[in-house]
């Protein structure tokens, strides 16, 4: 009976199109949480979010409320936010410091930062001859099956088995290498502001938009043109164009036909890269001063390598969009089949001069804040897509742009020359989706 009601996922994904129910069906959503988000590597946060022992940050992995916490020994642990006694969440706040141990607010069970039981009130008398003995591992807060930290970025997987984090990321680990290598000290520090914005749409709609190189000049032309008009005025008055205006006006000056000049590279497990278009290596005094600090840290040759890494977005499936040259990321937390939370963070490059941070900050404020000049129109589109997909006006979502003209080598799919607006990233994501979903 139950078996019959499980959707046949193989029938929902074809190489160039996807069935609409993939975005609208509650049962499929729960399957996705079980077979994708609660199984693969999910980004929890940056280790500098929890600097001191006892510092914690709560995070949602699939449907599971989790806690990322720094232990006294410096390890970052990821635990289920649940007391083993009666099931209460241990941390009700989004972040904080729990002191030397966690203490449940219901019956005062206490736990170390690694989840291990510290004490149960009346343990000797109340729990004599019961299953709750100190050596029973069920008295501990449950830990995420696997936790790995790559260059300060902490991931957890709720499945015991599966590829290691680096095997999973494959070449998409360049997101973290690029952001860290751009720091003269080789590492980044999180800025402790998290912008949180809810999208009234399925989580996959956001991911598909991230590498959709055709949409910016359509969706964002109003802001692009407005910024262009104002930057022309500023240039008349001051002789200079602030880079922050360029970040916005590029949406209009890079016209629809020019987007084909860029490229997407698509990797196993659904990860993808969109190459850069903003020309973020101006030759102003601030940039030149920064380049000198990089030369001192790495030498001339390595500096050139680092600065010529040409990335706009790295999409790490199924829930992280990293803009490494702009030092920011968006983590995607599905809340329901038609509701998705994005958590938006930015970083300081350790050892880089202040103006380089200011550049990232401008993008963070203008594009990624809750008063965004850009994403407002994306979110409007997402809501329209979600609502439109509920209709019986059609059953399929098409990803056919430049289909059949991708170049595939050793499992890596590159869009052909002059085909940057190819829907290859969406095809790649859905291919991975179907593979994940096929495994019970």
């Amino acid at each position: 009976m139950l078996q019959e009601s499980i959707p046949n996922v193989a029938r929902l994904v074809e190489p160039d199109r996807v069935h609409k129910s993939v975005y609208t069906d509650e049962q499929l959503f729960n399957m996705e949480m079980e077979r994708i988000h609660e199984r693969v590597w999910i980004y929890c946060g940056h280790e500098t979010q929890v600097k001191k022992p006892g510092d914690y940050y709560t995070v949602q992995i699939g449907r599971q409320p989790m806690i990322m916490v720094r232990g006294a020994d410096g390890t970052v642990n990821v635990l289920y936010n649940r007391c083993p006694h009666r099931g209460s969440m241990i941390c009700g706040d989004r972040s904080g410091n729990t002191g030397e141990f966690f203490r449940c607010s219901y019956h005062a069970w206490t736990f170390n930062h690694d989840g291990k039981l510290k004490n149960i009130p009346m343990m000797e008398s109340g729990y004599k001859d019961t299953r709750w003995t100190r050596d029973n591992p069920d008295t501990n807060m449950k830990k995420a099956a696997r936790v790995e930290n790559y260059r300060g970025f902490v991931f957890a997987s709720l499945a015991e088995d599966g590829p290691s984090l680096l095997e999973f990321l494959g070449p998409s680990k360049i997101a973290f290498d690029d952001i860290c290598d751009r720091a003269p000290a080789g590492e980044v520090e999180v800025v402790p502001t998290c912008f949180r914005v809810i999208q009234n749409s399925n989580w996959k709609i956001f991911l598909e938009n991230q590498l959709d190189a055709l949409h910016p000049s359509v969706t964002h032309q109003s802001t692009g043109r407005a910024a262009r008009e104002v930057e022309v005025e500023i240039e008349k008055k001051t002789g200079k164009i602030p880079l922050s205006y360029h970040m916005l006006s590029a949406f209009a000056t890079v016209t629809i036909d020019k987007w084909d000049n860029f490229q997407t590279i698509n990797y196993p497990y659904g990860h993808c890269i969109l190459t850069g278009y903003m020309g973020l290596r101006p030759q102003d005094p601030d940039t030149l001063a920064y380049e000198k600090t990089l030369t001192r840290a790495y030498g001339e040759k390595r500096k050139e390598e680092i600065l010529s890494t040409n990335i706009h977005h790295v999409l790490i499936y199924p829930g992280l969009s990293v803009q490494s040259p702009l030092q920011q990321l968006r983590a995607v937390r599905p809340l329901g089949v038609n509701k998705t939370l994005t958590e938006i963070w930015h970083f300081r490059l350790k050892g880089a001069p202040e103006p380089i941070y200011r550049r990232a900050l401008a993008y963070y404020n203008l594009v990624n804040s809750p008063a965004t000049l850009i994403n407002a129109d994306d979110l409007e589109n997402f809501w329209k897509i979600q609502t439109g997909l509920g209709s019986d006006g059609g059953d399929w979502v098409s990803f056919a742009r430049y289909y059949g003209r991708d170049i595939e080598k050793n499992g890596v799919v590159e869009t052909g020359e002059g085909m940057g607006t190819s829907e290859a990233p969406m095809r790649n994501q859905m291919k991975a989706w179907a593979q994940f979903m096929a495994k019970a």
Binding site: F195, S222, T223, E233, L341, Y364, S369, P370, A371, A376
Partner: protein, 193 residues
């Protein structure tokens, strides 16, 4: 039962009030406040600003700011100055102009639907008045927004740093601490609050 409860409340010990400052006549002195004329002028300015905003008279709204004026909505209530830190809004007149032009552009898709706001401003307190007439004023706002069929409510406080000019007050800085800003945003803000 209800009577008993009521009695208990009445019988609760009353917190000791701070001793009221007596003046020579024996009457309690009023709190030291700004001149009524200043209070009135600032209130009128704030009400008019809210009206201009709700009427979508964007250029007029921007013109309420001085040439170096800044509209600032901090990300964190503990923030002291907008420069160099993440903010929800931190806009000079140039950026405000970008926002206005975007909103007015025919292809600003998210601006197309029926959309309107209603601001109520109150609790106006003159924090400081300089000899040259410049004023720092605190106030509270409540805003209801309708977008398509959805209603959202926003509330918080303003701090206006007002410069007195021959043409009336102009805003050197408007700080907006919106209580909602500490929670996740369901959708985003498209114009100033």
């Amino acid at each position: 039962m209800a009577k008993k409860a009521a009695k208990r409340i009445v019988n609760k010990p009353v917190a000791k009030k701070p001793a009221a400052k007596k003046v020579a006549s024996g009457k309690v002195a009023p709190a030291k406040g700004a001149a009524h004329s200043t209070q009135h002028a600032v209130e009128q300015f704030l009400y008019r600003q809210a009206e201009v905003l709700d009427a979508k008279r964007w250029q007029e709204y921007i013109d309420l700011f001085t040439a170096d004026g800044v509209y600032w909505m901090p990300a964190d209530p503990a923030d002291k100055h907008w420069d160099g830190i993440p903010s929800i809004f931190a806009e000079d007149r140039n950026l405000m102009t970008v926002r206005m032009k975007r909103v007015l552009h025919p292809d600003a898709w998210s601006q197309r639907p029926l959309w309107g706001t209603n601001h109520v401003v109150g609790n106006v307190i003159i924090e400081k008045e300089s000899p040259n007439g410049d004023v720092t004023a605190r106030s509270r706002f409540h805003m209801m927004e309708l977008r398509r069929d959805n209603v959202r409510h926003f509330a918080g406080s303003y701090v206006h740093e007002l410069k007195k000019t021959s043409g009336g007050y102009r805003i050197k800085q408007q700080r907006v601490d919106m209580t909602n800003a500490q929670a996740a945003f369901d959708y985003v803000l498209q114009v100033w609050v």
